[in-house]
């Protein structure tokens, strides 16, 4: 087993914890609002953002942020597209953007792009600069989520009721999508494009049975996500498995454990 005295291990741990602790509370809203597929579409579009970043020679994270943001804002007003229901539209967009991202990247021969790292994450290669971005993005998301917590929850429970009570519904929705886009951009480095939604969905789903209030669920989800990150990283060091996917496996195992142990509530 690789020693814990290696700095890259600690950087990976810090990055994983930073992302997981932010993604989980935001993910609670993804679960409550039934937006898992929406999150999937945002993260799949991220590969197109990576290609954009490579072409424009800026940080991939910025390209991803831009791609996720544009996709999210377009989707937020879109309930139907012609005769197609929204999940069909999301399915088309998610996979078309992912495929297009791969195709565009194949044209960029001057830069060697490690596709596997983008798809499944490369948390052990996290740099100090990455950590700075994760910390910055995470702090912004947590602060903003705290600020819009109550109106966002009101909109989640009943949009019209919230609007009659004076909540600026459209602004709150857009803010939420913006936060999702930021999380997608910073989480890509950890678990990769294909697994980002798992960080948004699995810890909140695990926390559901243990929580009595929305806030409890968010805090518990963050804690469970942190445990999954540490467990996954340790397993990855012990058995030399890919770190990001190992974290997701750990999160899923926690989910199964809680499901087996805790009784169902309401």
């Amino acid at each position: 087993m690789i020693g814990l005295d290696e700095p890259f291990v600690w950087r990976a741990l810090a990055a994983g914890l930073g992302v997981a602790v932010v993604a989980a509370p935001l993910g609670c809203f993804v679960v409550w609002r039934r937006m898992a597929y929406f999150g999937d579409t945002l993260s799949h579009a991220a590969l197109l953002g990576v290609a954009l970043g490579v072409l424009l020679d800026v940080r991939p994270m910025l390209g991803v942020l831009l791609a996720a943001l544009v996709t999210g804002v377009v989707l937020v007003g879109l309930q139907r597209f012609g005769e197609f229901a929204i999940d069909t539209v999301l399915g088309i967009l998610a996979h078309a953007t992912l495929a297009l991202g791969v195709v565009v990247l194949s044209f960029v021969e001057s830069v060697r792009v490690d596709l596997f790292a983008y798809l499944f994450g490369d948390v052990l290669a996290v740099t100090g600069a990455d950590l700075l971005w994760i910390g910055l993005g995470g702090a912004v998301v947590l602060a903003a989520l705290t600020a819009i917590w109550r109106p966002l929850l009101a909109v989640t429970v009943h949009t019209d009721l919230a609007r009659v009570e004076g909540v600026p519904v459209t602004a709150v929705r857009l803010a939420f999508v913006l936060l999702l886009a930021i999380v997608v951009a910073v989480a890509m480095r950890i678990v990769g494009i294909l697994l980002i939604t798992s960080l948004l969905v699995i810890p909140p789903a695990t926390a559901r049975r243990l929580a009595r209030t929305p806030l409890q669920m968010a805090v518990l989800a963050a804690g469970l996500a942190a445990v999954a990150v540490m467990g996954g990283l340790l397993a990855s060091l012990a058995w030399d498995t890919p770190a990001g996917p190992s974290m997701v496996v750990a999160a899923a195992a926690l989910f199964a454990l809680v499901l087996a142990v805790a009784p169902a509530r309401a």
Binding site: V157, L161, A205, A211, R212, T213, P214
Partner: protein, 250 residues
């Protein structure tokens, strides 16, 4: 013309090809109970959404009095099972006061024992009253209830309308109730607006129930209902018997 809380003038709403509302005029005056009635698909909920400012009509305009506080009880409110929310947490989403205020508002609608219950655990009728409590916490000048009696048995419906009438008397707020059953609302309402895409007739409940347009819309069902109508002018005790003094006819 007195200052109405909300006034709709010449409102028409079209959704796609369908004309949902056509040239509707109506007004809600302070302190009155107005019942909005009409058959299924008549556009009642659409008119309510227009009055609440949730939907912008293609034609006509809606004028609301300044700083009007509205309490809204939507038709069906379903909370995702994945969202752990207690009744108190639900009330706190509308108005942030304290537990005592929540308990008091729940007591007004007879639900104070549910303050800590998860919203998914209580019945539809109970939840409807909890939503009413959330509306009351806003100290509304106008209370809007969209089919509040749905899924409640006839006795429960009468109780609910009595409660609404009592709330109006105590608080002096205006009330708009959407219903498709005039008989049950009759005693609790001041004015009735009967719509079926356009305004069919309006006025006091007795006048509306005698109006030919109303009879044309509801006639057959009305008679059917009359056959089964059960005038409950007495109270039953817990054992089903009629206790002394419970029957005004004896």
């Amino acid at each position: 013309m007195t200052e109405a809380l909300v006034r709709a003038e010449g409102v028409s709403v079209r959704l796609g090809e369908r004309l949902i509302l056509e040239n509707i005029d109506c007004a809600v005056e302070a302190g009155e109970i107005l019942t909005l009635i009409g058959p299924n698909g008549a556009g009642k909920t659409t008119l309510v959404r227009v009055l609440l400012g949730l939907l912008r009509p293609q034609q006509g305009r809606v004028v609301r009095s300044r700083a009007l506080r509205v309490g809204y009880v939507p038709q069906r409110l379903h909370v995702e099972p994945t969202l752990p929310l207690t009744v108190q947490g639900f009330l706190a989403l509308g108005t942030r006061t304290g537990r005592e205020a929540y308990r008091a508002a729940l007591a007004e609608v007879g639900m104070s024992h549910l303050v800590d219950a998860p919203v998914q655990r209580i019945s539809g009728g109970e939840f409807q009253r909890v939503v009413l409590a959330r509306a009351l916490l806003r100290r509304p000048a106008l209370l809007v209830l969209d089919e509040p009696a749905q899924g409640v048995d006839v006795g429960g419906q009468r109780e609910l309308y009595r409660l609404i009438a009592r709330l109006r008397d105590q608080r002096g707020c205006a009330v708009v109730i959407v219903s498709h059953d005039l008989h049950l609302v009759m005693a609790a309402t001041d004015r009735v607006l009967c719509i079926n895409r356009h305004v069919c007739c309006r006025g006091e409940p007795e006048a509306v129930s005698a109006h030919p347009e109303y009879r044309r819309l509801f006639g057959p069902f009305d008679r059917e209902f009359a056959v089964y109508a059960h005038e409950h002018d007495h109270r039953h005790g817990a054992d089903g018997g009629v206790p002394a003094g419970g029957d005004p006819g004896r």
